[in-house]
Symmetry: C2
């Protein structure tokens, strides 16, 4: 038959809550010819990826690997392995990803106690600690950097409360990993997961995950097998660990890309990378006021990777995003759940966390707001960002 027209995606600057921009070097790695999933050269690459993931997660956990699915499957891996019917789980909910964690815990038949905070504010540590202490608790879960609101939740105190109660902790590091400090061993977190498409700047498709020995013990001694075969950490350990027992066919090319993305992260150095994310986020925030815009989240608990911006009264939220995409080739995100229509989300993550990104998105926002009849000082926004 006739050749079909190829799909050529437009070049869009990805400044939404993810996926983030990917470097040419990572894209080139993705396009290398696949090896077999049990090939000796691929197995060596798996070892390297595991070791590099331990570095970015701040852990020596042996079981540290990328789950062969996108970030939410990392959350699911924690819940299907660590919860059994009747377990008591305390879940902190301060955004859409906390809601998802709660949903997943309910699906496992757990007795779920949720501790809610307003979207855009951090969790209340005392209420979390009280809920944990109120009954024998098997699992405590919450989100480190809430992608839906841009709030960074320091995990130390909640993790300490969970440990006092003998509960395992699950920490969502989807947006934090590679963009701000993650220190699982120092904090005492038992299970954590992330996605490749945020601050690691790799396309979506893998969920880096780490389980402590205590978490692995819990999974190994369940009363009955986890409902998931694909995400069963006992089986995954047989493939990624020493035995190299065939489990599933790993997404080989995505592992190439992740390995190369981790090369870029570690060549830059974690400390320098975190500083870059902070500096670039501050530059964006400085540029907002001349445009008549305000961040949703107070500075003290704002995460640098994703900045939520309140939509001013009278501005058409979706129209601004459409204008940015159509006229400026920029993607930014809208709000989710309770914040739908009320915020924009600008992600400055990984390869996209640059002053060029800040200036382009400020210029685009200024133009989109002017198109809606707002008075904005675009030149002052640029100056403020670079001040």
């Amino acid at each position: 038959m006739a050749p079909r027209a190829p799909f050529v995606p437009p070049e869009i600057l990805l400044l939404g809550p993810g996926p983030s921009p990917v470097s040419p070097r990572v894209l080139a790695a993705l396009a290398a010819p696949p090896l077999g999933h049990l090939d000796a050269d691929f197995v060596r690459l798996m070892d390297r990826v595991q070791e590099d993931l331990r570095t970015v997660f701040g852990t020596r956990n042996r079981f540290t690997l990328p789950i062969s699915a996108t970030g939410s499957a990392g959350m699911e891996t924690c819940m299907v392995n660590l919860l059994e019917p009747g377990d008591r789980a305390v879940i902190g909910v301060h955004g859409v990803f906390g809601e998802r964690m709660k949903d997943l815990a309910v699906r496992q038949g757990a007795e779920v106690v949720e501790v809610r905070s307003e979207y855009g504010r951090p969790l209340d540590v005392e209420r979390m600690a009280a809920a944990i202490a109120a009954g024998p608790t098997q699992l405590v879960g919450f989100v480190h950097a809430e992608t839906s609101t841009g709030v960074l939740m320091p995990p130390e105190e909640i993790v300490a409360a969970a440990r006092r109660a003998g509960a395992l902790t699950v920490l969502d590091c989807v947006t934090s990993l590679g963009g701000t400090e993650v220190a699982l061993d120092t904090w005492g977190v038992d299970a954590a997961y992330s996605g490749t498409q945020k601050c690691l700047s790799v396309p979506p498709g893998l969920a880096p995950l780490s389980f402590s020995d205590a978490a692995m013990q819990r999974a190994a001694h369940r009363a009955r097998k986890a409902p998931s075969w694909y995400l069963d950490v006992n089986l995954l350990g047989g493939y990624w660990g020493g035995g190299r027992v065939y489990h599933h066919t790993a997404p080989v090319n995505m592992v190439y890309a992740l390995a190369t993305g981790l090369d870029e992260v570690l060549e830059e150095g974690l400390t320098a990378r975190f500083a870059r994310h902070r500096a670039i986020a501050r530059a964006l925030v400085r540029g907002l006021e001349p445009l008549g815009l305000q961040p949703l989240v107070p500075e003290a608990c704002r995460t640098p990777m994703v900045t939520a911006i309140s939509v001013p009264d009278g501005v058409d939220e979706a129209a601004v995003r459409r204008h940015l995409r159509a006229a400026h080739a920029i993607e930014i995100g809208g709000g989710l759940g309770a914040l739908k229509g009320r915020i924009w989300r600008v992600g400055l993550m990984g390869h996209g966390a640059t002053m060029t990104s800040v200036l382009r998105v400020l210029a685009g926002l200024a133009d989109a707001l002017r198109a809606q009849g707002r008075r904005v000082d675009a030149a002052e926004a640029m100056r403020a960002a670079q001040a």
Copy 2:
């Protein structure tokens, strides 16, 4: 820090049971810059992928899409959505992937009736039908082309027996899709899944899947939610269907690659592609006898995509594979489960189903067998293959 040495995979001819070789065109598509997972251009590509998958699955099922994980997650999607605790499931087991299906059904709390056949032989249709009729049955599952043995199991009669009993059928099309006829609607199959890394010749990472309306109804009316959030078809339908509701972040670049792989499949045409797979598999089999080798599976039930070759007495199975990899840059597979050490598996799938592949693997096998002191007629094997 210092730049790290890049990982450059060697060029290996992938003639194992998967992953299969990937064309430069598909690799180039994989390396295009990502779009957002809700971007309008990406959404159009999703529609195209869904329509092309319907064509290769032989169905008009609305719910036809790639699951964002590798092939086994397709199997898991069927089981976690279509089974509830206490359901009766009849699973045909004639290889490792039937065993996996049984394991997954057990994990859902189903009452599982297994109907076993010897590895390397097809399922016994009468025993399957009798097991289905022996009690109220909710689900019947089996494998179309058993990747672990190379047996092709014609599905019509078992599916008809399941329909008479009012049971849904689940068909594993991991190795068959794109390499031999799959006709879900003609056969009356309710749920089927595949992987991208077999006869579609796309890297591993996605699981094409199709559910009939009856299967979707079953999933929609469960007594309780599926244990999996990531694979819940009710939620996936909201993202891939008309609503485009955010669910998870799709592996965007893998979808580019799948779209391009489907372009190649449909440009060739399904009929021509199936004929090519049959002709190439026959060429391989003709070349085996001069090497003193025999296929495991009788011709009548042999699948063209994967040929299992019995290891002759006195030959070191693993040493032959190591020799092929080291001296000829070819990957072939060994046996799994009951067939471990007893067979090699040669996959001639998709982009790898060529006469060049046949000649290279025959030459490699001849050389590896000679290295073990066997007398083989390599020249005659080449002649026979091309006869």
